[in-house]
C-alpha cells in the first residue's frame, strides 16, 4: 500500500511526488471516479482528469494517455500569488488550500499553468491534495490505489529506494510545461 518508509519523529520531511506511466494507462478514468468518491468532489468538477492526445493522420498515428492533476509544484505560483496565505505548502511539500482562509478570489486559478483548480461550491479554491488525509495514515492517494493498470505511483522523491525514485531512474520521463518554471512534481513516463 505505501510507497515510502514512514519517517520517525525529527527526521527530514519527505518530498512527495507522483509518477504516471503513459505506456500502461488505458484512460479508463478509474482514478477520476475514485477521487470523486474519496474526496466527495462536487458534481461538475474534478480534481484529476484524463487527457488523450492523438498525433498523425490515419493510419499513421500515435497516442498518449495521461492522468493529470495538480503538479504540487516546488515553486508554486498559486502559493505565491495567494493574497490571504490560504494556499500553502503542507507536509511533504503537498500544496494545500486552507478552506477557512480562502476568499475564493481565483488569483490562484489564474496563476496555475496546469488549470488544476476550481472554486468549490462552498466558496474556496479546491484541487488535488494528493489525498493528504490518506497519506497521513500511510495510504496511497485514492487514484493510485484504485488504478487497475498501476500507472500511478506516489511517494518520496528524495528517498532513492521509493518506487517513484526507482521509476524515474529507470525510465525516460517528462513533466508538463517545464517552461513555466514551477518545478512540478508530477512526472510522466513515456
Amino acid at each position: 500500500m505505501t510507497t515510502t518508509t514512514p519517517k520517525a519523529q525529527g527526521e527530514r520531511e519527505p518530498r512527495y511526488g507522483m509518477v504516471m506511466d503513459t505506456r500502461k494507462c488505458v484512460g479508463c478514468n478509474a482514478c477520476v471516479y475514485a477521487c470523486m468518491n474519496e474526496n466527495a468532489v462536487p458534481e461538475g468538477f474534478g480534481r484529476d482528469w484524463i487527457v488523450s492526445e492523438t498525433r498523425g493522420r490515419f493510419p499513421t498515428l500515435q497516442m498518449e494517455i495521461r492522468s493529470e492533476r495538480c503538479n504540487h509544484c516546488e515553486d508554486a505560483p498559486c502559493v505565491s500569488v495567494c493574497p490571504t496565505g490560504a494556499s500553502h505548502y503542507g507536509p511533504g511539500g503537498i500544496v494545500l488550500v486552507e478552506h477557512d482562509r480562502c476568499t475564493g478570489c481565483k488569483a490562484c486559478m489564474a496563476a496555475c499553468p496546469y488549470d488544476a483548480r476550481f472554486i468549490h461550491p462552498d466558496g474556496y479554491a479546491d484541487k488535488c491534495t494528493f489525498c493528504h488525509h490518506r497519506v497521513e495514515k500511510g495510504l496511497d492517494p485514492a487514484c493510485a490505489t484504485v488504478c487497475p493498470t498501476e500507472s500511478l505511483a506516489f511517494g518520496d522523491l528524495d528517498d532513492p529506494t521509493s518506487k517513484v525514485s526507482r521509476l524515474l531512474v529507470a525510465h525516460e520521463h517528462k513533466v508538463l510545461l517545464p517552461e513555466a518554471g514551477t518545478l512540478p512534481k508530477l512526472f510522466f513516463l513515456t
Binding site: 468518491n37 474519496e38 458534481e43 507536509p91 494545500l96 493498470t149 498501476e150
Partner: protein
C-alpha cells in the same frame, strides 16, 4: 468537464472514521495544524466486503458505510479478480444504490402495454397476481410456456424457480448476441469454451494479439491489470481493429483491417506460419488432429490473397505472422468477447482457436491457463418432477447444431403466436433490458404484445420494465445476499455477496422473490430454507468453508493447484477425438465448413458507413447509463467519424447528425466526433445509450441507441448467433 448536475451523494464532512485495512502504519511524524479540513470524511465506520454487479466480472469490493450511508467502494485486495483495484463502474456502485429513479415498490400495469403507467401495490398483491397467472398458464399451456431471460448473478434463484415449475426455456443475450460464437468455436476445437472471466494468461504473454477486442475500453478489471503487467514486462501487442483503439495506441503493429474480413487475415497468418514451419510442432503432434487437412486448406490463402480482401499489405501480413509466431511460447491470440458480427462468427472463432493451437497456446503460460474451481456441493433439493420439452422449434426453420445455450432472440420470436411448434406465453425478465439487448426491436415488441404475462424483476425502470404487466423491484447488490460465487479461475476461490446496507424503499432480494413465488406455486420444497442465511450456512458447511471468516474477508482462496502444462497439468480435450480438433469432423458432419472459410460480406455504398459499436470503460451497456455518477465523465455517446469523411460532409466537432440506416430507420440526433482514429468506411459508437424509458431521468434521450439501427442480422448457422455488424447508415445533418 461535464456541466453541473444535481448531486446525489450525501456525504457530510464530519470527522474521520476508523482506518481502513492497510492503514495501520504510524503517522509520519510530522503534521500541520493547517492541514485540518482536508479530510473529506468518506472513510467508513464499517467496511463490508462483497462482490460487484455493475458488470458480470464480479470483482471483490469493500464498501465503506458511515452513518448508514455507503460513502465509497474500494477494491478488495484479497479478491483474485480485483486485487484491490477497480474499474470506474466498481467505484460507481453508489450511483446505482442512490439512483433517484430506482424502482421503489411493486407495480401493476394500469394502461395498455408499453404505456409505462403503473400503480404501486403491496408485495402480497403483486406476488399473488403473478402466481395466479403462472398457475393458470401451466394448466392451459404447460410449464414450457414460461420463459426466463436472465442476466446477472442474482438470476440463479429464478433459474431454480423455472426448473421447479417445469420449463427449460432460460436464455440470456450474452450467448447469441455476445460471446456465444466464440464459446462454441473453442468448444469445437478444444472441447471447452474460453470462459467468463476468460482463462487468458495475458500477464505472462510475450506477444498479445487483439483482433476485434478493445481491451482497455472493454474494461474487465483483471484482464486490464494483466495487460498492464504484460506491457510493463515488455510484452508486445498486435492489434487488428478498424478503429485506433486504446490498445492499438500501445501496439507494435496496428492493422486497420476492413471490417468483416478477419477470417482472411487469420488464414493468411496461418498460411505463413505453416509454410515457414513456425508452428509448435511438438505440441501439435502431442495434442492435435487435422494438421494435414489444415495445411492443404491454407495452401492458397496467401498474404497476397488476403491483401485483396483485408486491405492489409502482404508484406505486413508476413511480418506480423512471423512476429506473432516469434513470441511463442507465450504468444496469445485473444479470443475476444462480443463476437456476434457477420454470421460466420463461429468460423472466425475457430480460426482464432486454430491459430492459438499452432502457437501452442492452450494450456500454456502466456496463453490460456486450465482453470480450477473451488468444489462446493449444490444445496440439496427434491428432484424436479417434470422433464421439460426442449426449446420451441420453428417448423422447417433453421436448426443450429452447436447452440449450446438457448437463443434469447429465438425464445423471443417463439413468443410470436404460431411461429414455433409451441407458443411461449409468459416471460420472467431478470436484469436484462431486452428492448436494447436484442436486435430487430420491432419483433421484440411484437412478441411482447402477444404475451399473457410479462414480469420484470429489476432495479431501474428500463425500457423492458415499461412493457411489463407486473414489476417486482429488486434490492441492489449492495443490499442483498446472493448465492456463493466460485468460478473456474487461475486460483480456486469462493466469494460472498452480502448486504452492505438494508434494502431501500419497498424492495426485496431476488432469493426472497423467487422463494415467495415458489411457495405460492406449491413449489416451496425447492426452496428448503427459512432465509438465504440458512441456505449459505448449509452450503458453506457442506463444502467445509468457514462462513464467519468468509463474511469477514469477502473471499476465501482454496489451495493453489497447477493450471498450466508447464506447472505439470496433463491437458485433456473433451472433443470427440479427445484431441485439439484443427479439422472439425463435427462441423463437417453438420454440413458446415470443417476448416474456416472466408466469405465476402456486403459492403457499404458510397454514401454509407458500416455501423460498429463497442464498449466504454465506465459503462456496462444500458445498465449503467442512468447512473449519474458514472455519467459525470461520459453522459452520452458520440459518433466516431473519419476526419476526412467529416470534412467532405462539412461536419465539425459536436455537430448534431441523424443516422439513417439501409431500411430507412432514423436515429435521434447524435454529436459527431471527427477523428483520425477510424477507417473511412465505418462509424462507431459506444453501445447502451439513447434510453427512451420515461422513468430514466438521467439517461433518457442522451445519445443514440444503436440497437434501433440494427434492423438486419446475419444468423450464424452453427449456433444461431445474430451478427449485428451488417447494418449501414447514411449521415444527415440534424434539423434544428
Amino acid at each position: 468537464m461535464p456541466l453541473s448536475r444535481r448531486s446525489f451523494i450525501k456525504i457530510s464532512s464530519a470527522t474521520l472514521g476508523t482506518a481502513a485495512a492497510g492503514g495501520a502504519l504510524a503517522s509520519r511524524g510530522f503534521s500541520s495544524s493547517r492541514a485540518h479540513g482536508q479530510d473529506p470524511g468518506t472513510e467508513g465506520d464499517r467496511v463490508v466486503p462483497t462482490f460487484c454487479e455493475l458488470c458480470f466480472w464480479n470483482c471483490g469490493v469493500l464498501a465503506h458505510v458511515k452513518d448508514g450511508t455507503v460513502t465509497k467502494i474500494e477494491g478488495n485486495p484479497a479478491h483474485p479478480l480485483s486485487r484491490g483495484k477497480l474499474c470506474p463502474r466498481g467505484t460507481g456502485g453508489t450511483g446505482l444504490l442512490y439512483d433517484p429513479d430506482r424502482l421503489r415498490s411493486p407495480l401493476l400495469r394500469t394502461n395498455v402495454r408499453g404505456s409505462q403507467e403503473f400503480k404501486p401495490v403491496s408485495w402480497e398483491a403483486a406476488l399473488d397476481e403473478v402466481a395466479g397467472k403462472l398457475i393458470r398458464m401451466k394448466e392451459q399451456y404447460g410449464p414450457e410456456a414460461l420463459a426466463l431471460y436472465s442476466h446477472g448473478y442474482g438470476g440463479s434463484w429464478f433459474k431454480t424457480l423455472m426448473s421447479a415449475y417445469g420449463s427449460a426455456n432460460i436464455a440470456a443475450p450474452s450467448f447469441a448476441q455476445c460471446r456465444g460464437s466464440r464459446e462454441v468455436a473453442f468448444e469445437l476445437t478444444y472441447g471447452m469454451g474460453a470462459g467468463s472471466p476468460e482463462w487468458t494468461d495475458i500477464e505472462n504473454s510475450r506477444v498479445l494479439t487483439l483482433i476485434g477486442s478493445h481491451l482497455g475500453e472493454n474494461m474487465h478489471n483483471t484482464q486490464v491489470q494483466d495487460l498492464a503487467r504484460a506491457i510493463e514486462r515488455g510484452a508486445q501487442l498486435v492489434v487488428v481493429d478498424p478503429r485506433y483503439s486504446v490498445a492499438a495506441g500501445k501496439a507494435r503493429y496496428w492493422l486497420p483491417i476492413k471490417p468483416g474480413t478477419d477470417i482472411a487475415l487469420l488464414l493468411a497468418w496461418m498460411h505463413v506460419i505453416v509454410q515457414e514451419q513456425l508452428y509448435d510442432r511438438d505440441y501439435l503432434e502431442r495434442y492435435a488432429v487435422g494438421f494435414e487437412e489444415l495445411k492443404a486448406h491454407l495452401a492458397d490463402k496467401t498474404p497476397q490473397w488476403a491483401f485483396a480482401r483485408t486491405g492489409i499489405a502482404a508484406e505486413t501480413i508476413v511480418e506480423t505472422a512471423r512476429f506473432i509466431a516469434g513470441g511463442r511460447p507465450g504468444s496469445l491470440i485473444h479470443p475476444g468477447r462480443r463476437t456476434a458480427w457477420y454470421g460466420d462468427d463461429t468460423q472466425r472463432g475457430r480460426a482464432i482457436a486454430i491459430l492459438n493451437a499452432l502457437l501452442g497456446a492452450w494450456g500454456r503460460e502466456g496463453g490460456f491457463f486450465l482453470p480450477a474451481a473451488m468444489p462446493i456441493p449444490a444445496h440439496p433439493h427434491p428432484p424436479y418432477a417434470h422433464k421439460p420439452r426442449p426449446a420451441p422449434v420453428v417448423p422447417g426453420g433453421q436448426v443450429f447444431p452447436f447452440a449450446s445455450s438457448t437463443l434469447a432472440h429465438g425464445q423471443c420470436h417463439a413468443s410470436i403466436p404460431g411461429t414455433a411448434d409451441y407458443d411461449i406465453k409468459g416471460w420472467l425478465v431478470y436484469g436484462t433490458n431486452l428492448v436494447q439487448a436484442l436486435p430487430e426491436e420491432s419483433k421484440t415488441i411484437q412478441a411482447i404484445q402477444a404475451l399473457d404475462l410479462l414480469v420484470a424483476i429489476d432495479v431501474l425502470p428500463s425500457e423492458i420494465v415499461g412493457w411489463a404487466d407486473v414489476v417486482l423491484p429488486e434490492a441492489t447488490y449492495l443490499e442483498r445476499y446472493d448465492d456463493l460465487h466460485a468460478p473456474p479461475w487461475r486460483e480456486p476461490y469462493v466469494a460472498i455477496r452480502q448486504p452492505v446496507v438494508d434494502p431501500m424503499y419497498d424492495t426485496r432480494p431476488g432469493w426472497w422473490i423467487a422463494k415467495q413465488l415458489g411457495e405460492r406455486l406449491g413449489l416451496g420444497a425447492y426452496f428448503p430454507f427459512e432465509d438465504v442465511e440458512q441456505y449459505l450456512a448449509e452450503r458453506t458447511e457442506a463444502a467445509g468453508i468457514d462462513l464467519v471468516e468468509l463474511a469477514k474477508t469477502g473471499v476465501i482462496e482454496g489451495p493453489k493447484v497447477p493450471v498450466t502444462i508447464e506447472q505439470g497439468v496433463q491437458p485433456t480435450f473433451p472433443t470427440p477425438s479427445g484431441r485439439i480438433e484443427l479439422y472439425s469432423q463435427q462441423m463437417a458432419d453438420a454440413g458446415l465448413p470443417p476448416l474456416p472459410d472466408f466469405t465476402a460480406h456486403e459492403e457499404p455504398g458510397p454514401d454509407q458507413f458500416r455501423l460498429l459499436f463497442g464498449r466504454a470503460p465506465m459503462h456496462t451497456f444500458g445498465r449503467t447509463t442512468n447512473n449519474a455518477f458514472l455519467g459525470r465523465v461520459m453522459a452520452e455517446n458520440v459518433l466516431w467519424l473519419n476526419a476526412r469523411r467529416a470534412q467532405e460532409l462539412g461536419l465539425a466537432q459536436d455537430e448534431l447528425v441523424t443516422l439513417v440506416n439501409q431500411d430507412g430507420v432514423r436515429s435521434p440526433p447524435i454529436k459527431v466526433m471527427p477523428t483520425e482514429r477510424i477507417r473511412p468506411d465505418c462509424v462507431y459508437m459506444v453501445h447502451g445509450f439513447g434510453h427512451d424509458a420515461k422513468g430514466l431521468s438521467f439517461g433518457r434521450n442522451r445519445g443514440v441507441n444503436d440497437t434501433q439501427l440494427v434492423t438486419r442480422v446475419a444468423i450464424d448457422p452453427a449456433m444461431g448467433g445474430t451478427g449485428m455488424n451488417v447494418n449501414f447508415v447514411r449521415i444527415e445533418r440534424a434539423v434544428a
